[in-house]
Amino acid sequence: MTATTTSLLDPAIARAALLDSVRKLDPRALLRNPVILSVWVVSVLVSGQLAVDIGQGHAVAFEAQIAIWLWLTVLFANFAEALAEGRGKAQAESLRKTRTATVARFLGAGDVEEPRPAPDLRAGDRVVCEAGDVIPADGEIVAGIASVDESAVTGESAPVIRESGGDRSGVTGGTRVLSDGIVVRVTANPGETFLDRMIALVEGAERQRTPNEIALSILLAGMSLIFLVVCAALVPMAQLAGAGITLAVLAALFVSLIPTTIGALLSAIGIAGMNRLVRRNVLATSGRAVEAAGDVSVLLLDKTGTITLGNRQAARFLPVPGVSDRELAEAAQLSSLPDETPEGRSIVVLAKELFDLRGRDLSASSARFIAFSAETRMSGVDLDGHELRKGAGDAVRTFVTERGGKIPAELGALVEGVARAGSTPLVVCRDARVLGVVELKDVVKDGIRARFEQMRQAGIRTVMITGDNPLTAAAIAAEAGVDDYLAEATPEAKLALIRKEQEGGQLVAMTGDGTNDAPALAQADVGVAMNAGTSAAKEAGNMVDLDSNPTKLLDIVEIGKQLLITRGALTTFSIANDLAKYFAIIPAIFLTAYPQLSALNILDLHSPHSAILSAIIFNAVVIIALVPLALRGVAYRPSSAANLLRRNVVIYGLGGVLVPFIGIKLIDLLITALGA
């Protein structure tokens, strides 16, 4: 599934949705939506009355028009839902394409390989995948290392390394091994993989209503009930006033008063929110998780990859007294020339920038490269009889002391100064002589500080999680502008922090990939597992990021908020609409009994019939007009709740009061002109 951007009205999807909206006229399909179901019931009643009236030879032009628009209201509501589902299905389709029928190389007893179709694999089975093979199912690498092309899932073409035993042992069905070979233990039965669950969710088939949707449905049902009573009570009241009300008029009043707009768009909004997440390559296991993302008030962010670029970069050369900058830079550069690590490369680049030191081709000379090892914690080069080394402070000290060198008194201060600034000191020596320190700096990502500032305004606290010592962590935290940090973090400390925040009433979101992250991912309210992570992590979290990009946590929070705002805005709009509809319909109903009520006809609508028709037409048309907004979501920029409220109340509250006045008036002019 690449980042597909389906246009809002893809003709194919729209056609299918049209068909679907007719199919959804089956009342059983409407059971979950009491508002639209009641419109359906009213439509049936009015149609029945219409049939009777036609049979008796009454004039039915007005009644027929009401009936038509009532049915259209139901159809429009169905269309909105069908369209959202259709777009989901289109995404599901592209997800499904990743699972071409493959034949797996099943490892049976005694490690004998036998071919077996992928759909027959069960959790716990082991399969072999070598260069060129498509991985047949979601699983975990139990042996080997391989580069894997995950573009089918993530859309990212650069191959990634997956290996057993670490935090990068998870593989996804449908991806392709490019080199080497691995043994994969299948972790999900067919139909239960993440992709399968996700397909079900985006298609809307398995969509369970979220807690907030349920609460909103209760409010909408309550409102429908009160309007049912209002309309029913109107019959005897009108009779007392000597005004008869026909069923069609009563039905029109009822349907235009109950919150049909939000009732029609509610499920579309939910499905569309989920789809927006999928388009960002994030799979959520439930709609509830998406909502929780909007509620999150504390974000735990891993330093590396989220706040800083993964690699540290050389920032300064700090020579000890008696050594020139240039001399230190030269030694550092030489020791790094064969070093392919990003840190090594950055030293070469810095030396060139500062002193215009060009790299030399060492292959011709008698240079011998000493690679970094966990044991020596140094790397370097032996060149022209000199030993050039760079590495951790104590490792280089030992190296120098062993060769009879003296440690300059100032080195300690230099090393500590660098550490205090949040950087990593790299000590450089030539033979038995310490030359100085290279400062390797964690590079904070561009623009991340501004985003944290936005989060802060939205009432979200950011906490940086890092294995660094507190000194370094504090410096980076200050530079990145996070609110807090957890230094020397262990999985246990992370879990404890989440518990503590939750005790204080906060909702916590985090990302994680390792198996030891699993408890914290499960404890967090929103746990986003990296797709590259272990299957334990993926099972524990409630979302998976296919791109394995921890920064996306910020996007996820924004998508959650946007979903809730869209729902709230359309609810407010829908309820505010009622005012105008009352002013259109009530005077129209009682005008014959009490002509003085024409003073309430502030819209100056043409006739009682045109007034009632205009209201019911507006009520139906506004559903279709708002479908794009429901699917796209309202514009959202992180901001304080007070700002968001002010802005949205003006647009959707006041707008909701004013728009129908204008709309109903225009429709009235139109149908009057058409001679209806």
Binding site: P211, N212, I214, A215, L216, I218, L219, G222, L225, I226, V229, V230, A232, A233, L234, V235, P236, M237, Q239, L240, A241, L257, G294, D295, S297, A458, G459, I460, G505, Q506, L507, K561, Q562, L564, I565, G568, A569, T571, T572, I575, A576, D578, L579, Y582, I586, F590, Y594, Q596, L597, L600, Y636, S640, A641, A642, L644, L645, R646, N648, V649, Y652
Partner: protein, 563 residues
């Protein structure tokens, strides 16, 4: 100008006193009523011993609700019995007979539910014993119940992960003993000093100038008058209520009565802010109440001070609409009283609302129909407006991009269900009963007038009872089996079907863990929230009642006739 001074004096003294009273209320409901009332502690303890309750026991919401219902049921039965038996009981100088069953039923419910709807002429129906031991006692008790429920709901907002919402018996006793009794005592003495009647002697007999004999009813009424206003009860000792010179003799007593009926309702939002420890939240609720009431004052004053079309037609161009008003009060005093009494669920009247101009009569009715929230009755106003506020938070709260939260409590399915029930039960019940009465023969027999005005009379009766206001529009003959029982049912349901959701909400809120506020939480102490809250109150009212009002007072107003 005089009106402006009156309003400034009235609202200024009410708000200042309410602020101070809230400090006292907070102490009282925390169980520490303060040194001045310390000598009453033994009385309080004696009551607990007699009732065999432990005031320190923290009740869950269901237990609290059961206690409220049990207390109200017993009160109703006792009051019913007292009325039926009054003929053979002492303190009955006028030798009044036992009250007939439908009326006794209606009256018992009416006083227990703090409605104080009166389908009878008190001076001709109720003995002194019934008035003092029955009606006056319930004037205290029903007001104390209202306060208790409000305090319990506020506790729900204050507490975090708590199972209990307080002890009903303690709240009931403390509210009566330390708040209502002392206040009533002070007000009663002042009223007496200004001429409100207080005597155990029977009716006075006087010879009029024309030589006829006149019987003048009187009784031990100053004490009742005080609690009638303080407890937002409104049930008068005389049929004419506060229009009667023995209940409300002078403009000064009129002002004092206005002050008394507004005092505790306006102290409640201050108490809300105090208990939360966030006064701004209380001020926001107060602001919503004040804005609604102020607007009502404005409309009423504008409408009542205009000459009516009927008077104009009769050539009386400059004559004010004095019909149904007392000569000793100005039109403005009548208009302000009519709004204050309906806005507080009191229901006392110093003029007949039936004779107001159409709009002047519609405003009190609207204040009642908005659910008695501006500021509403003692306690009832606060818990009712908090139900509205909960709905407002839910509707608008989503627009800040979070699951709606009210004061750190998330508003989910259960909270919405309870708030919706509490807010909608009255409109639904009101419309059903009004609908019934517009077709049934017994219902149509009630109104005095035909046409929209007759319909207004029916509307007003049900609005008044469903909202436990108790004021009458006059014109409706309500002392019939049909109206006594139906209005009685309306009073019971209108009271307890709001109390139960309010207590349920208190329980679920108290059980929740409170989320700390941040700039991401929806601000509920802001002008925009006050505006939204008012908007939701008006919208629910408008959407529910617009058709009914259109057929009653609106049609009347637009037809340019007085009636």
């Amino acid at each position: 100008m005089a009106t402006a001074i009156l309003l400034v004096v009235l609202l200024g003294s009410v708000l200042a006193s309410a602020y101070v009273l809230a400090i006292h209320l907070q102490r009282v409901f925390a169980g520490t009523p303060g040194r001045a009332l310390h000598w009453l502690r033994p009385v309080e303890r004696a009551i607990y011993r007699a009732l065999r309750v432990d005031p320190a026991h923290d009740m869950g919401w269901a237990q609290y609700a059961r206690a409220v219902l049990a207390f109200s049921l017993v009160s109703t039965l006792a009051l019913y019995a007292l009325q039926r038996l009054q003929g053979s009981l002492p303190l009955n100088p006028a030798s009044l007979a036992g009250v007939r069953p439908d009326l006794a039923f209606n009256t018992a419910i009416s006083f227990v539910t703090n409605t104080n709807w009166q389908s009878y002429s008190p001076e001709l129906t109720m003995s002194y014993l019934t008035q003092m031991l029955g009606l006056a006692v319930q004037n205290f008790a029903s007001a104390a119940v209202g306060m208790a429920v409000a305090v319990a709901l506020v506790r729900g907002f204050c507490r975090s992960e708590s199972r209990g919402i307080g002890n009903f018996w303690a709240d009931l006793v403390r509210g009566t003993l330390y708040v209502l009794l002392p206040l009533a005592l002070v007000v009663a003495v002042v009223l007496m000093a200004r001429g409100v009647v207080q005597t155990f002697a029977g009716p006075a007999h006087a010879k009029t100038l024309s030589g006829a004999t006149q019987t003048i009813a009187r009784g031990p009424f100053a004490g009742q008058e005080a609690i009638k206003e303080l407890g937002t009860n409104g049930g008068g000792s005389f049929n004419a209520n506060s229009a009667h010179p023995y209940e409300n003799p002078t403009p000064f007593t009129n002002l004092l009565e206005l002050f008394s009926l507004l005092l505790i309702p306006f102290a409640m939002p201050f108490l809300f802010g105090r208990m939360l420890g966030r006064m701004r939240e209380g001020i926001a609720i107060l602001a919503a109440m004040l804005l609604l009431l102020g607007t009502a004052y404005g409309i009423s004053l504008a409408s009542e001070t205009r000459t009516t079309p009927a008077l104009t037609a009769a050539g009386l161009v400059h004559a004010p609409n004095m019909e149904g008003k007392e000569q000793r009060f100005s039109i403005q005093e009548a208009a302000i009283f009519s709004d204050s009494t309906t806005a507080t669920s009191t229901g006392a009247v110093n003029a007949m609302h039936d004779s107001f101009t159409a709009i002047g009569g519609a405003v009190p009715m609207t204040l009642i129909l908005l659910g008695e929230v501006a500021p509403g009755g003692v306690g009832t106003g606060l818990y009712s407006i908090l139900l509205f506020a909960t709905l407002t938070v839910f509707i608008a709260g989503l627009m800040v991009g979070r699951t709606p939260e009210f004061l750190g409590k998330s508003i989910g399915a259960r909270e919405v269900k309870l708030a919706t029930l509490g807010v909608l039960v009255m409109p639904v019940g009101f419309l059903v009963t009004v609908g019934l009465s517009s077709v049934l023969h017994d219902g149509l027999a009630g109104p005095l007038n035909a046409g929209p005005h007759g319909f207004s009379e029916i509307l007003y009766a049900f609005a008044s009872t469903w909202n436990n206001n108790g004021s009458a529009f006059a014109g409706l003959t309500a002392a019939t089996n049909y109206y006594d029982y139906l209005l009685g049912a309306a009073m019971v349901l209108g009271r307890f079907l709001v109390i139960l959701p309010a207590l349920g909400l208190a329980g679920t809120l108290a059980a929740q863990r409170t989320r700390p506020a941040s700039s991401g939480s929806m601000p509920t102490a802001s002008p925009i929230f006050v505006g939204l809250l008012i908007g939701v109150i008006l919208l629910v009212g408008a959407l529910s009642f617009f058709p009914a009002l259109a057929l009653g007072p609106l049609t009347e107003a637009l037809s340019g006739r007085l009636w």
